[in-house]
């Protein structure tokens, strides 16, 4: 069984379902990328995996354990970390406090992890005393990812981490994500910079209208002309 196994998720915000039997799985240390048209339900699927949406059907298991009924906070304790698409830092708290908040659920000494995060994102160490709200878009994204890493998640979920960041920062972020994955952390992310993302993905999902349309390795999806034309912009 896969490390994360969200199978046959069905549900939505109101009466109409947004997700229709959507299945997402991620293995240990694997990078899985979700792509798809706007409004396909990618963010919704992420929320569903994280327990922020009431599901009408389907289940979510993590490391073999059924977590379908758990609240988001409890999922954090089970080792899931989530970086939302927007509003993903604490703007009036310093970078360091942002990271501390990431480690909120931990009762052990987290200075080591913080050092690791600083190693991963050196710019953050420089700006550790600055309020996160005063950082540029790309730096904020790094803080956001860093905060999620502080929980020492076993599964890191990122919703469009590169939206609005410059190419150089995007590359940097993807580089970091690969490094993170190499430490054995599973990554599930939504991306609209789909080609770049699929290049580093072990596995790719194409979501259309809340359902799985294509599932394959990143390479294979990139190579599929149909997928390229319809979803990756040629």
């Amino acid at each position: 069984m896969s490390y994360l196994n969200a199978s046959e998720m069905t549900g939505g915000y109101g009466k109409a379902d947004i997700l229709h039997s959507c299945t997402l799985t991620v293995e240990k240390g694997e990078i899985a990328v979700i792509v798809g048209p706007n409004g396909a339900g990618k963010s919704t699927a992420m929320k569903a995996v994280f327990g922020m949406l009431a599901l009408r059907g389907g289940s979510v298991t993590l490391d073999g354990e059924d977590i379908t009924a758990l609240s988001p906070q409890d999922r954090v304790k089970k080792g899931m970390g989530f970086v939302p698409q927007v509003n993903n830092v604490f703007p009036t708290m310093s970078v360091e406090e942002n990271l501390e908040m990431g480690a909120f659920i931990r009762n052990d000494d987290f200075t080591g992890t913080m050092e690791q995060v600083y190693e991963l994102f050196p710019i953050l160490k420089e700006k550790r005393r600055q309020n996160a709200g005063e950082l540029s878009g790309g730096q904020r994204q790094q803080v956001a990812v860093g905060r999620a890493l502080m929980t020492q998640p076993k599964l890191l979920m990122l919703d469009e981490p590169t939206a609005g960041v410059s190419p150089i920062v995007m590359d940097e972020l993807f580089d970091r994500i690969i490094e993170v994955a190499r430490t054995g952390i599973s990554i599930l992310m939504v991306e609209q910079n789909a080609r770049q993302a699929l290049e580093i993905a072990d596995k790719g999902y194409v979501l259309v209208q809340g359902a799985n349309k294509y599932t394959d390795t990143g390479e294979a999806l990139l190579a599929d002309p149909e997928v390229r034309r319809t979803f990756l912009g040629g």
């Binding site: 703007p91 009036t92 406090e97």
Partner: protein, 335 residues
């Protein structure tokens, strides 16, 4: 020229009362600001919470007095305060469970929360009166003065009196301790930081594993404590009357906003700005002028504004601050 008497007059009639009043407003404004920044709504029930808390303190004080327990020169109410805080905090938590929790869950707009708090205000209003009635109650039983007018005159031989009430001293001292404790708590402790995180970005706090229920509970407990302390100090210094506490809501809000709502430092500064402007701008300078310029007997009161418009003064200041420095003296946060 009689500089000393002039100074004494100003101290006695402006500086001392305004400082004590300012400290009381500041404590009230802190409660309002805390709710605003963490739970994101203007809590119109705060005045009545203060009344309720004070009512409880009074009942317990009476109990102690009946049992013959006292604090010597200090008012017995100080002894009753912790119990009052506990009960008020419990009521706050209960209110949250029964009322506010639902609106957080459905993510109601702030103005809905404001209206909800108006509803709570109505209920608390009634509750307080059921509890302790509508009468004016004096429950200050300690030594009344640190220095009274007669002692002062004997001591200094000056014609101007100067008095310092013990409640004024207690008020300021308690206010300083409370504020310091609050700052330490918010800035340094884990729970305090998690509260700031929650106030910054509620969703993200959730994603960091911060338990919103805990944050909310702690917020209400602190608010209950602040309200009870502010209300008790106020009641000790003046006297308790349920209706007055509702009226206090306006200057408290004015303080919080002038200072920059959502900002604790601002709340404190705002309290003093409001109290000093109320007392200072309407002060009749006649006496001081006659001390300073002995040969001039002004026929008027040498008063900038009559006390009729006292409340207009504090609100005019409020409006001016809002227009020229819209986030308040200290940058507040707006949701």
């Amino acid at each position: 020229m009689d500089l000393i008497n002039a100074l004494v007059a100003i101290t006695n009639y402006v500086i001392i009362p305004a400082t004590a009043y300012g400290a009381q407003l500041a404590l009230g404004a802190l409660g309002v600001t805390l709710i605003y920044s963490i739970l994101r709504f203007s809590n119109f029930a705060h005045g009545d919470t203060m009344a309720f808390g004070t009512g409880i303190v009074i009942l317990i004080t009476w109990g102690f007095q009946a049992m013959g327990i006292s604090l010597g020169p200090l008012p017995t109410a100080l002894l009753a305060l912790p119990f009052g805080i506990a009960i008020t905090a419990a009521l706050m938590l209960g209110t949250d469970k029964v009322v506010y929790q639902y609106y957080r869950k459905v993510r109601a707009a702030p103005v809905v929360m404001v209206m909800v708090s108006v509803g709570v205000m109505f209920v608390m209003n009634a509750l307080t009166r059921f509890l302790i009635g509508v009468d004016q109650i004096n429950f200050d039983d300690g030594a009344r003065f640190v220095i009274n007018a007669r002692q002062w005159r004997e001591m200094t031989g000056l014609s101007e009196p100067l008095t310092l009430r013990s409640t004024q001293v207690i008020t300021v001292v308690t206010a300083i301790i409370t504020v310091a404790a609050l700052f330490w708590f918010l800035g340094k402790t884990r729970t305090g930081k998690s509260m700031r995180a929650f106030s910054d970005n509620e969703d993200l706090a959730l994603l960091s594993g911060i338990d919103p229920n805990r944050v909310v509970a702690v917020t209400w407990i602190i608010t209950g404590a602040l309200a009870t302390i502010a209300g008790t100090l106020y009641g000790l210094d003046k006297s308790f009357k349920a209706f007055t506490y509702f009226q206090l809501l306006l200057p408290i809000f004015a303080s919080a906003i002038v200072g920059g709502i959502g900002n604790p430092v601002g709340a404190i500064a705002g309290g003093f700005v409001i109290s000093f402007s109320e007392v200072g701008l309407t002060y009749a300078w006649k006496k001081v002028v006659t001390y300073l310029i002995p040969n001039w007997q002004p026929d008027g009161l040498v008063q900038l504004l009559s006390t009729d418009y006292k409340y207009a003064v504090s609100f005019t200041i409020l409006i001016l601050v809002l227009i020229f420095k819209p986030t308040g003296l200290f940058k507040g946060k707006i949701v």
